[in-house]
């Protein structure tokens, strides 16, 4: 078994205390831990302090908002979330929750953790001996991006299953930090830089996810090698309104990409033109690009009958 690096641990009971602890240099938040703990074991980062949110009970609450939308505590597990009766009105989101990893991990992983999932790459999410052998990478212990050696940045892929759908739904997140509370649309949360993929301020905690009232249905498709465990090779969410089709595609770069089109074919072509998958995943980028067109078209087609 891989041992953990040494770290301090705190489990504050108030949000204020949690925020203050998170302002400690080297502190990191621990929610479900399903992504964080393996990353620690792989020595992707070695925080001095883990601040657990498990005693912040308010993060596991949810309520219906006066406008008919939902406010969901960020500490709800994906299983709790997908099991809420109200979530049937957001079928794409429900489906997305159920495609994360495995049912066991869905019972531990939180929605907040999924929204803030660290970006992933074939050259980054690897054991430490292997990373030493390739000399590290831009995101960890190295100076070269193996995906794009001549490029300027890090292209580690945004891989959060729930985000493409949340983006289409127009969801917002509530962030509580040392300077107060702010609301940020999901679509404005990601920087596009694989090194620091989330636009969070130091000490900020994602406390709630705010969904607008149910609108036109969204669909979620996840392309992966195996039907469980695996992260997505492509994540596609699509919706349809009077003005046409929209899709949000992810797992193709540090941030999701939105495209629009008048028909499923048109939408697929727009995605094909806008998105360039890279070598962040094992299958060849050329194959992922071809399949992207198929996946987007199929997502949109499945909305036709709705």
């Amino acid at each position: 078994m891989l041992p953990f690096p040494k770290f301090d641990y705190a489990a504050p009971t108030t949000l204020r205390e949690a925020v203050s602890l998170l302002c400690t240099p080297g502190a990191r938040i621990l929610a479900g831990g399903t992504d964080l703990l393996p990353s620690l074991k792989h020595r992707l980062f070695e925080p001095s302090l883990l601040v657990s949110i498990r005693r912040l009970t308010e993060l596991r609450e949810w309520e219906m908002l006066p406008d008919g939308g939902l406010a969901l505590g960020a500490g709800l597990t994906l299983q709790q979330l997908s099991g809420l009766p109200a979530l049937a009105l957001y079928p794409g989101l429900q489906e997305a929750c159920r495609t994360v990893a495995t049912p066991t991990l869905q019972g531990t992983a939180t929605i907040g953790g999924n929204i803030l999932l660290e970006s992933r790459c074939l050259y980054y999410n690897q054991p430490v001996g292997w990373r030493d052998a390739i000399g590290g990478c831009l995101k960890c212990d190295g100076s070269v991006c193996h995906v794009a050696p001549k490029g300027k940045g890090c292209y580690a892929a945004h891989s959060a299953d729930t985000v493409p759908t949340l983006w289409l739904l127009g969801a917002q997140v509530e962030l509580v930090g040392p300077l107060g509370v702010r609301l940020v649309p999901i679509s404005a949360l990601y920087s596009g830089d694989g090194l620091r993929p989330m636009l969070l301020q130091p000490g900020e905690i994602l406390t709630r996810l705010l969904l607008p009232p149910p609108g036109p249905p969204t669909v979620h498709r996840k392309l992966r090698t195996r039907a469980a465990i695996d992260y997505g090779l492509l994540l596609v969410a699509a919706s349809r309104s009077q003005s046409g089709y929209r899709a949000v595609v992810s797992a193709v770069g540090p941030a999701p990409i939105e495209v629009r089109g008048e028909s499923p074919e048109d939408l697929a072509e727009a995605a094909f033109r806008a998105v360039q998958p890279l070598g962040t995943h094992a299958p060849a980028p050329t194959w992922r690009k071809k399949v992207l067109r198929v996946e987007v078209r199929r997502a949109a087609e499945s909305l036709k009958e709705g």
């Binding site: 078994m1 041992p3 001996g129 292997w130 039907a227 469980a228 094992a282 060849a284 194959w287």
Partner: protein, 770 residues
């Protein structure tokens, strides 16, 4: 040897279904694996491994590592200079690299500390200066004489470990007689075992000055011998114990650095040392399936009979030999089964490259050529316009025959297997008729039931079993076998219970302990049921004879009038005349302690070809499979929907375990067909040493498996049993390849059949001919 189980007597325990006697301990966590064991003052050791595929080690500076608080000690390669290896004729590996590293991940330094985390951190503080050398990463590079020899210090430096060339009958004449000649090249990828439990060892030097070593191994006996030799000890100074093992699939046949370094450091530090590999390290320990490049030419008459086979195979073996010499023979030897063949020629080479060493993996050396041969038959069947099942049926070897390369075959259930899968799958009705993107395919295969020759030359028994019974009624069976999850404990308990009239759970099995248990050569070559099973029956029959003699005296009948069942010994003709098993033991003990032993030595099966020492087996198993697949022609994604597998295992001693083995073989075959590849990126670095990226099927990707047990009676097997642990995997991949061809029209001759490959091939297939 035959008739030992008194044909005519009905088996009571043998042939039933039901859980293993050790199953509950495993699923409740009571079974103890190496990592569960803890000793007072125990320390943990970790390895620093090479980041270079091929380099001189110029210097090693341990000072910073040793200064870390909590570090207890260290060792470098020179401290165990003797070379180790699975096969005595080619031992070429040292516990830690000495002077030179030969693959990325090779262990260089071992550091012990109070806890694993400290040992790991200390390893990263070691400064090693390397001087990189040109690397040999492919078959072609290994064959290039201009490249440096990876084993520069061997007697005849060369990157060719072994070349085997054999010729039987008259191949050219066979081709001249052929109406159709089919010739193709195939590439089978390397893959690794992915046992649930990683390799691990715990060593302690006891107060009596002897070494006690617990290790997760498949071959306690061979490993025991080699560990003692390399450490310069008398074998009797070492007690090797195999605790519960979480699978091997061939990956735990060799001696390993874990065992050597834990033993050495335990002596050096005067404290028990535990070493458990992490998952990344298991990928470096490897000993997995050899990537093999193959060329196959076959001649057929119009009636489908095979006139000749010419076969060449080149195996990319990695940096050390492991079982590679044996592999080079296995690549060719089973091509003469299960089809009649008079003219056969094969040539193989096993090469050194700068990668983790390849070795035995389930179906050792036979999986790759079987893939080529069976897909070749599919092609030939289409060209000859003979159904693929029919082509096979026309060519099956007869029972009790000898193949052109001298394999002596006893029972052959091949025809029943083919007919069973064809019938239950509806193959004939479905072939070519399932519609776009759906297809069905068939393949067949044969495999050995135990290697006839041990890895070191000797004439002694291959399996020993000792049974001790006492007046308490306790039956304890001692065997040097290694249950690694496959069920050999239950197999032994079943056979013993059958002969003594007990239930399997009334037999305790102590196994895999080189001090307590009689020698058994280990869990490899599908030998355990056949060989240890026979030894067990012999030991049990000796106990039975003594019990019967005592009972006969008491019941005033002849021994031959007795039968044992359900805890009693009774008169066959008058079952109410009986005594209990415990009473019979009491009476038998009047003649002294009731301890008996049995052994199995394979029959001296002469082989006309003296060079053929690898491959001959006392018996052969047979399998047929049908696979049904669905292909998404827009994405290339393939799904194996269903597999029908029929296997001739001789007599099924426990049907549940046999079915489990069939399912396990199919599962592993599906992994190799669709996902698995021990692939390297530039610089000889594994593409992904983790089980997130090295994809093995989950339950979702595992097809619906229809297991069909075909029973033949093998004269020399215990109760007629053969094997079920490896043979059934051989035909999975070619059946899937044939189904893929039926579904799409494309021929893929290089597994794994990834969506990328399928889509590319479909695009070429669809492209208008220009």
């Amino acid at each position: 040897m035959s008739g030992r189980w008194h044909a005519g007597e009905e088996a009571v325990v043998v042939g039933h279904s039901g859980p293993k006697i050790d199953g509950m301990a495993r699923i409740t966590g009571q079974a103890l694996f190496v990592d569960d064991l803890r000793l007072p003052r125990m320390v943990h050791a970790k390895f620093l491994r090479s980041p270079f595929p091929h380099a001189w080690i110029r210097s090693i500076d341990l000072s910073a590592a040793l200064a870390l608080p909590g570090v207890v000690g260290s060792m470098v390669g020179e401290e165990i200079p003797r070379k180790y290896g699975a096969i005595p004729v080619c031992q070429d590996e040292t516990a830690l690299a000495i002077g030179k590293v030969r693959y990325v991940g090779e262990p260089v330094v071992c550091i012990a500390a109070e806890d694993e985390e400290t040992a790991l951190r200390a390893c990263r503080l070691v400064r090693v200066e390397y001087e990189p050398l040109p690397t040999i990463l492919s078959i072609d590079e290994a064959l290039d004489p201009a490249r440096p020899a990876i084993h520069h210090d061997s007697r005849k430096p060369s990157n060719v470990l072994r070349r085997v060339s054999q010729d039987y009958g008259d191949v050219e004449k066979g081709f001249a007689e052929a109406d159709l000649i089919v010739e193709e090249s195939y590439d089978y990828p390397g893959s690794t075992h992915v046992p649930l439990e990683s390799h691990g060892a715990l060593a302690v030097w006891e107060a009596d000055g002897r070494l006690k070593l617990w290790t997760s191994t498949q071959n306690p006996h061979y490993v025991h011998r080699d560990i003692a030799r390399v450490l310069g000890l008398e074998a009797a100074q070492v007690r090797l114990i195999k605790p519960a093992v979480g699978a091997g699939y061939g990956g735990k046949c060799d001696p390993f650095c874990t065992e050597l370094c834990a033993s050495y450091l335990a002596k050096k530090l005067g404290r028990p040392v535990k070493i458990i590999l992490d998952r990344e390290e298991v990928f470096y320990a490897h000993r997995g399936r050899h990537p093999v490049r193959m060329w196959l030419k076959m001649g057929f008459r119009n009636d489908g009979s095979i006139t000749a086979i010419d076969f060449k195979a080149q195996a990319d073996g990695g940096a050390y030999s492991s079982y590679g010499v044996v592999t080079s023979y296995y690549l060719g030897v089973f091509m003469t089964l299960p089809y009649r063949l008079q003219n056969y020629r094969f040539e193989s080479q096993r090469l050194y490259t700068n990668k983790p060493p390849c070795g035995p993996k389930r179906g050792h050396g036979a999986i790759q050529p079987r893939f080529a041969l069976e897909l070749h038959l599919e092609k030939a069947a289409q060209l000859l316009k003979i159904p693929a099942d029919e082509l096979r049926l026309r060519n099956i070897v007869a029972p009790d025959t000898e193949t052109c390369n001298g394999l002596k075959v006893g029972s052959v259930g091949m025809e029943e297997c083919i007919r069973a899968v064809v019938k239950s799958s509806g193959y004939a009705e479905k072939k070519g008729k399932l519609g776009p993107g759906r297809g069905i395919g068939i393949a067949a295969s044969a495999y050995m039931c135990g290697a006839l020759h041990p890895t070191y030359q000797n004439e002694l028994f291959h399996s020993g079993v000792m049974i001790k019974v006492d007046r308490s009624g306790d039956v304890c069976l001692f065997s040097g076998t290694a249950d690694i999850g496959q069920g050999s404990i239950h197999m032994l308990a079943t056979l013993c219970a059958e002969r003594l009239g007990l239930r399997p759970e009334q037999v305790r099995v102590v196994e895999g302990d080189t001090s307590l248990t009689p020698v058994d050569l280990g869990s490899y070559s599908s030998r355990v049921t056949f060989m240890a099973g026979n030894a067990c029956v012999e030991a049990a029959d000796k106990v039975r004879a003594r019990l019967f003699a005592a009972a006969a005296k008491k019941l005033k009948v002849e021994d031959a009038a007795l039968q044992a069942a359900e805890g009693f010994i009774f008169v066959k003709s008058e079952p109410t005349q009986k005594i209990s098993f415990v009473d019979a033991v009491w009476l038998a003990e009047e003649a002294g302690p009731l301890v008996e032993a049995g052994g199995y030595t394979p029959p001296k099966i002469g082989n006309r070809f003296r060079r053929q020492s690898v491959g001959p087996s006392p018996a052969y198993s047979f399998t047929a499979q049908v696979a049904e697949v669905e292909v998404d022609e827009e994405t290339g994604i393939i799904r194996v929907e269903r597999i029908w597998v029929a296997h001739d295992c001789g007599r099924a001693l426990n049907r549940t375990i046999v079915e489990g083995q069939l399912e396990g073989c199919v599962y592993m075959g599906v992994g190799e067909a669709l996902y698995e590849e021990q692939a390297y990126r530039k610089g000889g670095i594994l593409r992904a040493p983790s089980i997130l990226e090295y994809k093995i099927p989950t339950l979702h990707e595992t097809p619906e498996i229809h297991s069909i047990i075909v029973e033949s009676h093998e004269e020399g097997g215990p109760f007629g049993a053969k094997e079920a642990g490896e043979g059934p995997q051989l035909s999975t991949v070619p059946a899937i390849a044939a189904a893929l061809q039926d579904a799409t029209g494309i021929w893929l001759r290089d597994p794994p059949f990834t969506p990328e490959k399928i889509l590319k091939a479909l695009e070429r297939h669809r492209a208008p001919l220009s």
